[in-house]
Each structure stands twice: as C-alpha cells, then as structure tokens.
C-alpha cells in the first residue's frame, strides 16, 4: 500500500473514533445553521433582485412562501429527525414494557403516555408490542394510553411547532396530547374493553429472553440510525410535504385575508368539529400537515382549531387501525376512534378559549 493510502486509512480510522464522530456531528450542525440563516436572504435576493419580481404581487408572495418554506421545513426536519432518533435510541419498547409491567391503572396510564412519547416505535410493530405488553400484565387501558400517545405526541411535530410558533404552543400541544392519551386510555380501561380484545392475545406467550432492540449499540450505530431515519422519513413524506407547501403557498398568496377566518375562525362554533372531521380520513405525518397549519394560521385561523386538525391527521389513521384490527375487535376500534376524536375536539375548543 502507498503512503497516501496509509494516510487516508488513518484519517478514516480517526473519523470512526468517538471523538471523530462528535467532530463530524459538530461540522454538520455548523453547515446546518449556516444554511438555515441564509435561506431567507437567498430567496429574497433570487425572487426580488435576480428575477426582479414585485414584492407586493400575489405571485411573488406565493413563490416566496413555497421556496422559503420548502427549504426551511426540510432543514428543520433533517435536524429534528436526526436529533430525536439518536436520543430515542437510548429507549426501547422492551424497556418501556419492563417499566409498565405490573403497574396499576391511573399511574400506569400516566407513565404509559409519557413513555409513548419518548419510546422509538414504528406503528408496524404495534401488534407484537400490544401482545408483549398484555403478556407482561400491563392492563389494556394502560397499553392503549401508550398506543395513543405514541403517534399523537410526535417529537418532530413538537420541534416544528416550537420553531414556528414558539415554545408556549409546543408545550401546550404536548400537554394536551398527554391528557388525551391518559384519559382516553383510562376511560377505555374503565369501560371494560378486555372482552373486545382478540382471545389469542391472552394465549400468546413471549419466549425466553426478551430481546432489547437498542441495547449495546455503539455511538456510530446510533448516529447511523439517525441518518437513515432522516432519509427514510423524507423519502416517505416528500410528496405530502410538497402538496402541503403548495396548497399553503396558494392559500398564502391567493385566499383573501379574511376568507378562512370568516368561515372557520373563532366565531364559528363548529369549526373544530369540521377540522377534526376533515383530519381523521387524511393520513399524513405531522411534517406533511405543518405547512398547511402555518399558512392557515397566517390567514387568521385560531390555534386550537389548527392543533385539533393536526392531531386528528396524525393520531387516527386507517393503516394503523387495520393493523390493530389483528388484536382488537371492531367494537373496540370504533370506541377507540370515538374516544380519541372526542378528546381532540375538546382540546381544540379549550385552546381556542385559552388562546384568544
């Protein structure tokens, strides 16, 4: 091997060391923050100076919203997904199960909702996780609190809300989501829904040693998981993101300022109901809805209505219900959707009251 080859190999080895990895993360963070800062000035320059559009026209306003927000939301997503995935890799469904095993209802619901937020959880694992929890003696209502909180309080949504509307709104969203998950799970447990769980769930036993999915990972593994999750999520949601930002841009430029405020504003008592009704059949990641939320907020829609809309899109989805149908009877699925929907509607009205 040549000396340059040796040197290159040495550099590579140094990059793989923990210190090297941290330097890599710091460099990426620096590039990220420079790009984030430059995004606004760059679009201003491109649209108003280079192309020479008039700032006050609808076309310019829509184009600016589309360009600036596409880049901004993509950058935010990359940063937030990476950080969240790396942090969450220190938790696992298996550890959560151990923490919840033997808990009673009440305390159990509170813990389950909190753990639902921080545990890395793919809805594709919902069935084995459900059976695993029940086999560990976790009450059905507590298990449901976990399953409701997991998509409802989404860290990516928390990060996006905080960076667009401030920490107060983001914290209110977390608190509201937790309250819905805790109370819906508790209520479902009280209703005695055990009889609506498929019987095979109670007969399934977990074999031998429970495998902890994130134990013993190296720093390199965790950083790699973060990178892959960024790519996976962006690849999955980019069409939603483009549609969301596109619709947002049209609303931003063309809808009359008071159009939405007049028909769906605080003055309309059924606005929250309509928002949730529209949101439930829509299925998207929190990231896909956020551009719409942003544009509608600009047009004067109250935050409670918007949060209720977002929550109904992310928390109740047909694909997850189809998966859960394997372990839950249709009656329980129906009650589950109804209870969560009522909770979200209540959150919408409460926030509209609190925030005006």
């Amino acid at each position: 091997m040549t000396t340059t080859g040796d040197a290159r190999e040495r550099v590579r080895a140094r990059l793989r060391s923990p210190v090297g990895r941290w330097i890599g993360v710091a460099a990426a963070a620096l590039v990220w923050s420079v790009a984030y800062r430059l995004n606004g000035p760059l679009w201003d320059w491109l649209l108003y100076n280079a192309i020479g559009l008039d700032r006050s026209t609808r076309l310019a306003s829509s184009l600016h919203f589309f360009g600036y927000d596409s880049v901004k939301i993509t950058l935010l997503l990359v940063g937030i997904i990476f950080v969240v995935t790396v942090l969450r890799s220190f938790m696992s469904v298996e550890r959560t199960r151990a923490l919840l095993g033997g808990r009673r209802e009440g305390v159990g619901n509170v813990m389950a909702a909190g753990l639902g937020v921080v545990t890395p959880f793919c809805s594709c694992s919902a069935v084995p996780a459900f059976i695993g929890f029940v086999a560990a003696g976790v009450p059905i209502g507590v298990t449901l609190s976990f399953l409701i909180a997991s998509p409802l309080v989404n860290e990516i949504a928390v990060g996006l809300l905080a960076s667009m509307f401030g920490w107060k709104i983001a914290l209110l969203y977390v608190a509201a989501g937790l309250v819905v998950a805790i109370s819906a799970g508790w209520l479902l447990g009280r209703l005695g829904v055990q009889k609506w769980v498929e019987p095979f769930v109670f007969e399934t036993h977990l074999g031998g040693q429970i495998i902890d999915s994130t134990a013993g990972l190296s720093l390199g593994d965790r950083l790699q998981m973060g990178r892959e999750e960024v790519v996976n999520i962006l690849r999955k949601i980019w069409p939603y993101l483009l549609v969301g930002i596109g619709v947002g841009a049209l609303i931003h430029g063309w809808a009359p300022t008071d159009f939405f405020a007049r028909y769906a504003g605080a003055g309309n008592p059924v606005a929250v109901l309509i928002a949730v009704g529209v949101g439930i059949p829509l299925y998207s990641n929190a990231a896909g809805v956020m551009p719409l939320v942003l544009a509608l907020h600009d047009k004067g829609l109250p935050m409670g209505t918007l949060l209720a809309f977002m929550m109904s899109v992310v928390a109740l989805s047909l694909p997850e219900m189809i998966l859960l149908r394997r372990v839950l009877k249709p009656q329980l699925i129906a009650v589950y959707v109804a209870v969560v929907a009522v909770g979200i509607i209540a959150v919408g009205y409460l926030f509209n009251l609190l925030l005006t």
Partner: protein, 80 residues
C-alpha cells in the same frame, strides 16, 4: 445455516430480507432463509420490535434495518 426474518410484511421487514440476501451473496454463503409473519412465532423468540433477524435460532438483531456490512459481520461470525 438457518436464517429467519421476523416481521409481518412491513417495508422495513422487506428491507431486512433484501439486506440479508445481499450479505449472503457477498459472502458466497448458502443458507435457508425463511420469512416468519406469524405473530405468535415472532413473540416466541422474545421479539417485540420488528423486523428481527434470527440466525440458527438465536436472535441477533431486532427493531431496525442494519447495513449490509453489519449483516455480513454477523453472518460471518455464525458461519465460522
């Protein structure tokens, strides 16, 4: 060598199967590769996070899709 991919047909499970086949090909190994989609069987391995990889009845990985290089290392150590 007997290899099982545990998972109920989600995208990540298909990705794990693909990565495993590629690792096998790169190592020039032949092995029985079964897909296990039945939840009771998956749980009987103590696995709650899918997809998971089982080599000679031992769970070597669960809840994520590894790189081809990682699977290659796992398989090589089991083949030896």
């Amino acid at each position: 060598m007997n290899i099982k991919v545990l998972g109920s047909g989600c995208n990540k499970c298909k990705a794990l199967e693909r990565v495993t086949r590629k690792a096998l090909a790169e190592l020039d190994l032949t092995a029985d590769l079964d897909k296990v989609e039945d939840y009771s069987t998956i749980l009987s391995y103590g696995v709650m996070s899918t997809p998971a990889l089982v080599v000679n009845d031992e769970v070597v990985l669960s809840g994520r899709v590894p790189t081809v290089a990682q699977v290659r290392a796992i398989l090589a150590s089991h083949a030896a």
